[in-house]
Symmetry: C2
Subunit: 298 residues, 2 copies
């Protein structure tokens, strides 16, 4: 067990976060948020999604967001893409990376996208072929890695198999998502140990939700395992659709504070990050879910 010297933060607030907020966010506020995050030093932003707006109306303006953001060299502006069509729309507006997704639970896959896990992965073949040809990196998300809202416990071997398949297909990195936040530090370690048997530890990212308050403990456990890529959402944007009133994504500010304390490099200015999070929270008319932002803003 040794902590990484450097961590890359994948900021998912503008997509995974805002997609799960009840009220719609104005396009201009999304653009401002992304620019503020880049100004704070984040160099990887999941900026939007090209899923059918019928299913995810909050992301219907992702094309305008991608077109409207003033780009900074060296920053990845990524898009979530469900299929070749979505991929093409994302690339047309200048997404320089895309993400695909699968669930680690058959029940979740059926309820969420109405097909089996293996069918869902098969659907991405055309997208990945196109991305390879255009040299667009593809990231893979696996959801429900530590528990499913419909079927409960999830087998770590199952997660490892899906991770291995997505990696073999061409995903350069696999993000393990505790979608409902039920995981604890011990289970996180077991999971990462199992997945790291089939793909290199440097290719695994941790995507933790704070629904049960465990996210930072899980992230600390993941860091101890050698994980060096952490997904997080500024201001903890994004609630939890499976537990009303509960929190969802871990707040980027709180992750950065943890990393600062551990002496791990990340390149982010905490004050500017808090500014970005407080600004979007004010626009949404809700308190920030970042405890660090709350403690440092008073």
């Amino acid at each position: 067990m040794s902590l990484p010297k450097q961590v890359r933060i994948v900021e998912v607030g503008p997509r995974d976060g805002l997609q799960n907020e009840k009220q719609a966010t104005p396009t201009s506020a999304k653009i401002q948020l992304i620019e503020n995050l880049v100004d704070a030093g984040l160099n990887y932003i999941e900026a939007g999604s090209f899923v059918n707006p019928k299913w995810v109306p909050q992301m219907a303006d992702s094309g305008e967001v991608f077109s409207g953001v003033a780009r900074k060299a060296g920053v990845t502006y990524a898009a979530l893409t469900p299929n070749l069509q979505g991929y093409e729309r994302a690339i047309a507006v200048g997404a320089n990376e895309v993400a695909i997704f699968a669930a680690a639970s058959e029940a979740f896959s059926q309820k969420n996208i109405n097909c089996s896990i293996s069918e869902s992965i098969k659907r991405f073949e055309a997208l990945i072929a196109a991305a390879k040809q255009q040299q667009i990196p593809v990231r893979g998300y696996i959801s429900c890695v530590l528990g499913c809202p419909y079927s409960g416990a999830v087998d770590a071997e199952m997660v490892a198999n899906i991770a291995s398949e997505l990696f073999a297909m061409g995903c350069y990195e696999i993000s393990l998502g505790d979608t409902i936040g039920v995981g604890t530090a011990g289970k996180t370690k077991q999971l990462i140990e199992t997945v790291a048997r089939v793909i290199p530890i440097s290719k695994i990212a941790a995507h933790m939700h704070d629904t049960y308050g465990q996210a930072l403990a899980n992230i600390y456990a993941a860091l101890e395992m050698g994980i060096s890529v952490i997904d997080s959402s500024v201001a903890g944007l994004g609630g939890c659709p499976y537990a009303v009133g509960a929190t969802g994504n871990v707040a980027t500010e709180d992750v950065v504070y943890l990393l600062n304390g551990l002496g791990i490099e990340h390149g982010i200015d905490l004050e500017k990050l808090i500014y970005a999070g407080n600004t979007i929270s004010n626009i949404l008319g809700k308190p920030t879910n970042s405890r660090v932002a709350r403690a440092m803003s008073k």
Copy 2:
């Protein structure tokens, strides 16, 4: 590094928690809270304080609370006591253990109790002598172990010296308090390593605040060091006087959830614990600070 098989939870909600809530809690509600906590399986409750009510009006009724609680065999009902007078009042109403306190920061000691750290420790000599004679166990708190609201960083060696002194005086256990919640997992490990050089690890307790969202990560780090006594407050009772609107004590529910995930025994029924926390939160008219309670109550 190896996790303990069993952890003892020191429930501080009725004292450290309620003392730091803005609104006064009715005596009957305090009694009900303590009884609910014992019903949930907690066997160590810090039930009140015998500090001058001029300074801590929220605890002015501690005598009535101790007298009113239906006692259960095997449960420790502890009192915070600032001096021999307070000790005698606590014992008169049946406290079966007392706690004394010192700060790890001279600035905090001066501002909080208007004397130096060594003077504050000297004041406890008479109390400890009386407790020894009556075979009443004395627990020692050290506050500001990972940072001071007035003077910033705190030296781990300083904490170790005070811990050593309190232990030598007769405290059977030393609780290390991150009073303002600024600590992170790395600093927590360094601190415990330093203190464990002068007193046995089995005599050290971790008392973490969640002001910066770090409490569970710090507790996990402490468990990895072999710490097996954790202080916590049901429903996260008790705010943070140094950051308005921020959270204070880590919620017992969230600690229990972490321990469950790690397979560590604690003897507490999580559902009954959530009931105890939600009941007092309703009486106080505020949402619970436990994320587990929020996620599991909807």
